[in-house]
C-alpha cells in the first residue's frame, strides 16, 4: 500500500464499504433508466438525426455544400477533427500517466474519462473521412494490397501518419478501457438476477473469476499498457500538429506546435472530463466518489496546461516578429487584427484569461464556476484550432488568392452530428457500463476513504 499523507483529504467520502461501492456503482446499471437519462439520450439522438441529414447532403452533393473555397481548403472539418482528438487525450492520459505517477484520485474518474476518450476519438475520426472529396474510397490511405499492382501510399504525408497514429491510439485505448472493465463486468454478472444479464455480462467479463494469479498478471499488463500508452498519447497530438507544422503555410509552419498542441489537448480534454463528470455525478448520485478533491485536482491541471498554452500563443507572436519573415509576421498580425480578429479574441479570452481564475482556491472548489469554465475552455480550444487552420489559410502568400470563409448550415450540421455520436455513445455507456472502476476503487478505498476500515466495526 502507498503511504498517503494524513493531511490529504479523503477521495471517497461517506464511509463506504466495499459492498457499498459495488451497490452504488451498479445501481444505474441494474435499475430502470431515469427520466433525466432518457431526456438526455433523446436530445443526443435529435442532434444525431439532424446531423445525419447534413452528412447525407454532404456525401451526396459534394464538399461544395460546405463554405470552403479554392483558398481555404480546410476549415470547420479539420478544426472539429483536431478539437475532438484533443478532447480524446484526457482519458488515456488520466489512466496511463496518472497511473504511472500513482495518483490515486484518478481511480474514480478514469473509467468515464477513458470512455469519453474513445467516443471523442470516434467523433474525431469521422471528419478525416467526411472531409474527403470521395469518402467512398476513404480506405485508400491504408497500405492495402490491391489490383493495381504496386499502388501504395505516401509515407511522407503527415495525413498518413495521422491515419496510423489515430487508429493505433483508438485501438490501444479501447483495449486498455475494456481490460479495466472486465473485473467489473464480472461483478455485475455475479449480481445479475436475469438470465439475459448473466449471459450478456458473462460474455463481456470473459469468464473472469478474480483468481490471485490472474490479478497479478492483470496488474503487470495494466502497468505495461500504461507504459506504452503514455508516449502514445503524447505522440498522437504531436503527429496531428505535424499536419500543420510540416507544411509551409505561414501560421502553420511552426516548430513549437507539438508541445503546444499536446498541452492544448490535455487542457481541453480535462475540461471535457470535468463537464461530463459534473453531470454524471449528479445524475447518478456519485457525489461520494467524485468529490470536490477530484474536481480541484483537475482544475489545477487545467490552470497549468492553460498557462502553457498561453505561453505558446505569446511565443508564437514573438517568433513571428523576431523571425523577420514578412509572411509570418503579417500572418500573425492579420490573425489578431484582420477579418478574423474576433476568433482570435475568443481564443485568447477563453483559453488564456478566464482559466487563470483557477488560481483561486474557492473557484477551483466551486462546482458551478468550474462547470461554466470547463465549457468556456472547450469553446476557446475550438477557436484556437479555427484560428490556426482558417486564418492562416485565408491570407497566405499570394494576395490574389486571399479569400474569406463563411460556414454554411452543413458545416454546422456535421459538427452537431459529431456531438450526436459522442453523447449518444456516452449516455449508453453510463447506462449499461459501470461508470466507476469498482475494483480499482476498492483497492484504494482503505487508504483514501474518510472512515477507517469499517469491516471490523460492522462485525462487532
Amino acid at each position: 500500500m502507498q503511504i498517503t499523507s494524513p493531511v490529504r483529504p479523503p477521495l471517497v467520502t461517506g464511509g463506504k464499504t466495499y459492498h457499498d461501492v459495488t451497490a452504488d456503482v451498479c445501481r444505474p446499471v441494474e435499475s430502470a433508466p431515469s427520466k433525466a437519462w432518457i431526456a438526455a439520450l433523446g436530445f443526443a439522438l435529435m442532434l444525431l438525426g439532424f446531423g445525419l441529414y447534413c452528412v447525407y447532403r454532404l456525401v451526396w452533393d459534394g464538399i461544395g455544400m460546405w463554405g470552403l473555397n479554392k483558398t481555404i481548403g480546410w476549415s470547420w472539418d479539420i478544426t472539429n477533427f483536431v478539437w475532438w482528438i484533443g478532447i480524446g487525450h484526457a482519458g488515456t492520459l488520466i489512466s496511463a500517466i496518472l497511473l504511472l505517477f500513482r495518483q490515486k484520485w484518478r481511480t474514480s474518474i478514469n473509467r468515464a474519462a477513458e470512455a469519453m476518450t474513445i467516443f471523442a476519438v470516434i467523433s474525431a475520426a469521422m471528419f478525416p473521412v467526411l472531409h474527403m472529396g470521395r469518402p467512398w474510397v476513404g480506405y485508400w490511405p491504408l497500405p492495402l494490397p490491391n489490383t493495381f499492382g504496386s499502388l501504395w501510399v505516401n509515407f511522407n504525408s503527415p495525413l498518413l501518419w495521422d491515419v496510423f497514429a489515430i487508429s493505433t491510439y483508438f485501438t490501444v485505448s479501447l483495449v486498455f478501457w475494456y481490460l479495466g472493465l472486465v473485473p467489473d463486468f464480472a461483478t455485475i454478472r455475479d449480481r445479475a438476477t436475469s438470465k439475459f444479464r448473466q449471459i450478456f455480462y458473462g460474455m463481456l467479463s470473459m469468464g473472469w473469476d478474480g483468481a490471485a494469479k490472474t490479478w497479478s498478471r492483470y496488474e503487470a499488463v495494466a502497468l505495461v499498457l500504461a507504459g506504452v500508452s503514455a508516449p502514445l498519447v503524447l505522440s498522437v497530438h504531436t503527429i496531428v500538429s505535424m499536419d500543420f507544422a510540416t507544411s509551409l503555410i505561414p501560421g502553420w509552419h511552426t516548430t513549437i506546435f507539438p508541445p503546444y498542441f499536446v498541452s492544448g489537448a490535455i487542457f481541453s480534454g480535462f475540461a471535457m472530463v470535468l463537464t461530463l463528470m459534473l453531470i454524471t455525478r449528479v445524475v447518478f448520485r456519485l457525489e461520494d466518489y467524485i468529490t470536490i478533491e477530484h474536481i480541484e485536482s483537475m482544475n489545477k491541471i487545467i490552470v497549468l496546461t492553460g498557462s502553457i498554452v498561453g505561453i505558446a500563443y505569446i511565443s508564437e507572436l514573438f517568433i513571428a516578429w523576431y523571425s523577420g519573415v514578412p509572411y509570418e509576421s503579417y500572418c500573425f498580425l492579420n490573425r489578431a487584427t484582420g477579418p478574423y480578429w474576433w476568433a482570435y479574441a475568443m481564443m485568447m479570452s477563453c483559453n488564456v484569461i478566464t482559466p487563470q481564475l483557477f488560481w483561486l482556491r474557492f473557484v477551483r472548489r466551486n462546482i458551478v464556476i468550474t462547470f461554466i469554465l470547463s465549457i468556456i475552455v472547450n469553446i476557446g480550444m475550438w477557436f484556437e484550432r479555427f484560428v490556426i487552420i482558417c486564418t492562416s489559410l485565408h491570407r497566405d502568400y499570394l494576395p490574389s488568392s486571399w479569400a474569406y470563409f463563411k460556414p454554411t448550415m452543413y458545416d454546422v450540421g456535421v459538427y452537431l452530428f459529431s456531438f450526436g455520436v459522442f453523447f449518444t455513445l456516452f449516455f449508453l455507456f453510463t447506462k449499461f457500463f459501470p461508470v466507476i472502476n469498482m475494483s480499482e476503487l476498492k483497492a484504494v478505498l482503505k487508504s483514501s476513504s474518510g472512515s477507517s476500515n469499517s469491516q471490523s466495526n460492522k462485525r462487532a
Binding site: T22, P143, A212, W215, S216, V228, S235, S439
Partner: protein, 177 residues
C-alpha cells in the same frame, strides 16, 4: 477443470486478515488451490509465492516485431516496389518514416501482450468462470483449498478449523460436478 473435486472454501471479509491467513495456512503445510479477490490485493501474490509475470518481456518482443514490420513496409513500398519522386525527397526518407514506425511498435506490443495475457489466463467470452463464491467479485475474499491434494497430511476438519482460526468468516465446502 476441477470436476468431481471437493473444495473447502474459506470466505474472508478483510484483505489484511486474508494475507495473514495465507501465510499461516501455507506454513502449516496446507496447499492452497487459489485465492479469489474482488480487487488486486497487494502482497497477495508474494504471500501465495507466485513469481512475477513475464508479460513485459512479451510486450517488448511484440514491439520489436512492430518496429521491423513498419520499417520493412515503408522502405519496401517506397524505396523498392515503386519508387516515386515526392516533393524532391529521396526514395527512402527515413525521418518521414519515424512516426509510423513508432505507432506500429506501440500497437504491436500492446495488442500482442494483451492477447497473450488473455490466452495464458484462459479468458474468452465463452469461458464459464469457476466460482467458489459469487461474493468474491463483490466484497468477499475467497480461499479455495483442494481436499484430495491435501489428504495426505490433513483432513477436512483440520483445514476447516485452520481456516476459522485464521479469521475466515465462513467455511463452506463446494464440489464441482
Amino acid at each position: 477443470m476441477a470436476s468431481g473435486k471437493k473444495f473447502l472454501v474459506g470466505v474472508f471479509d478483510d484483505e489484511s486478515v486474508l494475507i495473514d491467513a495465507i501465510g499461516k495456512i501455507r506454513n502449516s503445510g496446507v496447499k492452497i488451490f487459489e485465492v479469489y479477490t474482488p480487487f488486486p490485493v497487494h502482497g497477495l501474490d508474494s504471500a501465495l509465492g507466485y513469481k512475477p509475470s513475464n508479460l513485459p518481456v512479451a510486450a517488448f518482443l511484440f514491439g520489436l516485431v512492430g518496429t521491423i514490420t513498419a520499417l520493412t513496409m515503408e522502405i519496401g513500398m517506397m524505396g523498392f516496389d515503386w519508387p516515386m519522386i515526392i516533393g524532391g525527397k529521396p526514395f527512402i526518407p527515413l525521418p518521414d518514416f519515424i512516426p509510423i514506425t513508432f505507432e506500429l511498435t506501440v500497437l504491436f506490443s500492446a495488442l500482442g501482450m494483451v492477447f497473450t495475457f488473455l490466452i495464458i489466463s484462459d479468458l474468452n467470452p465463452f469461458k464459464l468462470p469457476l466460482m467458489f463464491d459469487k461474493r468474491s467479485t463483490d466484497d468477499k475474499f475467497v480461499m479455495a483449498i483442494d481436499i484430495e491434494s491435501n489428504h495426505s497430511r490433513s483432513n477436512e476438519e483440520t483445514i476447516t478449523s485452520l481456516l476459522r482460526e485464521n479469521g475466515a468468516s465462513e467455511v463452506n465446502s463446494k464440489t464441482f460436478e
